[in-house]
Symmetry: C2
Subunit: 338 residues, 2 copies
């Protein structure tokens, strides 16, 4: 196990103009015909008959914001997590270093860290009345095997001393057991609800940039297609999905940066996925969309895991992304405060 | 509906020495005998056979911390939410004002905002393998009816214009629809796992004060009993439960402040609950425990809802709590940074 997390590691002070959060989006659904339940809500209470029928608000999402003082860039940056994760993945690395959320805030970006519909503080809808399927829970070895953290087949062991990490890997493997505590259950048939939530968020916030990881990538692309005048730039960190290629032209005004890690270590399903994603980006380029590839191994940066925002060189990669973002022609809205 | 949330309301700047988060606690469980599932994890992927069996990490919890610069008080303050809620309830009020989390950070308290086991970014365990029951989802009218926001029976309506708020009430009712988006499902048989999570958090952090709301109250009292040398003060905002009265003497070193709102508006189940809680605090006092009551109506402060950290006078109540906390003899650990 990794070291204690309190007191937090010493660091430079950070000045904020504002921090807070809000929920946004969702819809009302009427549930009826459900049986009443008798529950005890607290140890000082008596059993109560609870009627779960009535109007429920479902499929809202959560965003937490940090506005630095001074704010150097006009449009806020949104961080959209991957599958099975929440906004927590951007905050502190499993081994206790500052993550990409503080990185971008310190650099002068007003930043929103989001929990998508069904994830984290967004909450989830009644199952199977609204979410039709059961959620998926990840065993602890999945990320080890699938995220280029372990050395491949047979490298996992419940005993940390007997695991074989990826040779030359950048993930802080001694903190892997801390990392897996971050995983939350996910559904697999909620894509449309998640996208609706992100669109409600964009409509609330206005002009913005989106930095999305893994599963978040498809929503970032779809949102940029749906709101081409609002989403000003998109950064995709190892995206696992895409938007409709037949509408590629709608992305012409949105510069896109794709960040890919250690491609040569990909095998099997991950390699096939990468191939399909690459084909999609070629379709975008052919339609006149600006798609730049930040291929880390090609730049001599090897060993990164799929969770590169937690890797030992996470700040270096954030710096490359920030430099790209700051070189785009973004609408400068000025500081958000009056 | 309430107004847009971006850009955030103008406010004073705030200097932080650190902010971040961690997950803590939980346990490994081995799941076996579950059927494989075929799922499609992304729109670029192909259907995959997923084996849910194996070791899962369950019942961890989440804490996000904000260390102000300068930090005026040694022991950090933990905020523990109530039932069906997450740490989001402390951040920004539904009508967009700063909540108690920024309040205490601005005042100089290193503050941890927590998501208990099963709630928010803590995630939840497989059901019914680990959590034996199904979660409970709250219809939108529950809080209106039960939290002294509405005017009682028959005052709710799905149309905001046709609702009847509590006369003289302090809840920002025009933002009620924003508030209900915060509710997340909750289980009713997870008390022991939640308490274990909080104890793991305390063991990680060390000396601390706890401010708990509603359902959080029973865990704060139980945690203080289990860690009497570590939990230095407890504030209970309308607690809905308690610890074992037979062990009241173990709380003798822990000063307790109980904050109660508009008692005269209580009726039915809430009044009976309040009565049982009051009896418990009398048992504590008889055992030599310091229990102070901050009875808001007795101080001329009427109309508060159960969600007083969101009420229009939320800062006033936070001020009364902070003054009490700062008058206790807390171990001053000095600033946490080296």
């Amino acid at each position: 196990m990794s070291q204690r997390r309190w007191p937090p590691a010493s660091t430079r002070s950070l000045s904020l103009a504002a921090f807070g959060s809000f929920h946004v989006g969702g819809r009302a659904v009427a549930l009826q015909g459900l049986p009443p339940r008798t529950v005890r809500l607290t140890n000082a209470g008596t059993p109560a008959a609870i009627d779960p029928n009535g109007t429920h608000w479902v499929e809202a999402m959560y965003a937490q914001y940090f506005v630095p003082q001074p704010q150097r860039f006009g449009p806020p940056l949104m961080l959209w997590h991957g599958g099975g994760l929440t906004g927590a993945c951007w905050e502190t690395t499993p081994d206790g270093r500052e993550g990409w959320l503080p990185y971008f805030v310190r650099r002068g970006w007003a930043t929103l860290s989001c929990d998508a519909v069904e994830r984290g503080r967004a909450g989830f809808a009644p199952t199977p009345q609204v979410f039709l399927d059961a959620p998926m829970h990840q065993p602890v070895h999945w990320a080890w095997d699938r995220f280029r953290i372990g050395a491949g087949s047979g490298s996992w062991h419940d005993d940390p001393q007997r695991r074989r990490p990826m040779p030359g890997g950048r993930f802080p493997v001694q903190a892997y057991d801390r990392f897996v505590k971050q995983f939350v259950p996910r559904w697999t048939e909620t894509d449309e609800a998640i996208l609706r939530g992100y669109l409600a968020l964009i409509d609330e916030v206005g002009p913005c940039c989106v930095l999305a990881h893994s599963q978040g990538g498809q929503f970032a692309l779809q949102a940029a297609q749906a709101r081409p005048d609002v989403v000003q730039a998109v950064v995709l960190v190892e995206p696992s999905g895409f938007a409709n290629p037949a509408q590629a032209h709608t992305l012409r005004r949105t510069p896109i940066l794709v960040v890919q890690g250690d491609g040569q270590r990909l095998e099997g399903r991950s390699a096939a996925l990468r191939e399909r994603v690459d084909v999609y980006f070629d379709v975008l380029r052919a339609a006149g969309v600006t798609v730049e590839l930040l291929d880390l191994p090609a730049q001599g940066i090897g060993g990164n895991s799929h969770m590169m925002m937690m890797d030992l060189n996470s700040d270096d990669i954030a710096g490359l992304i920030a430099t790209w973002l700051e070189s785009q022609r973004l609408v400068d809205l000025g500081p958000p405060m009056s």
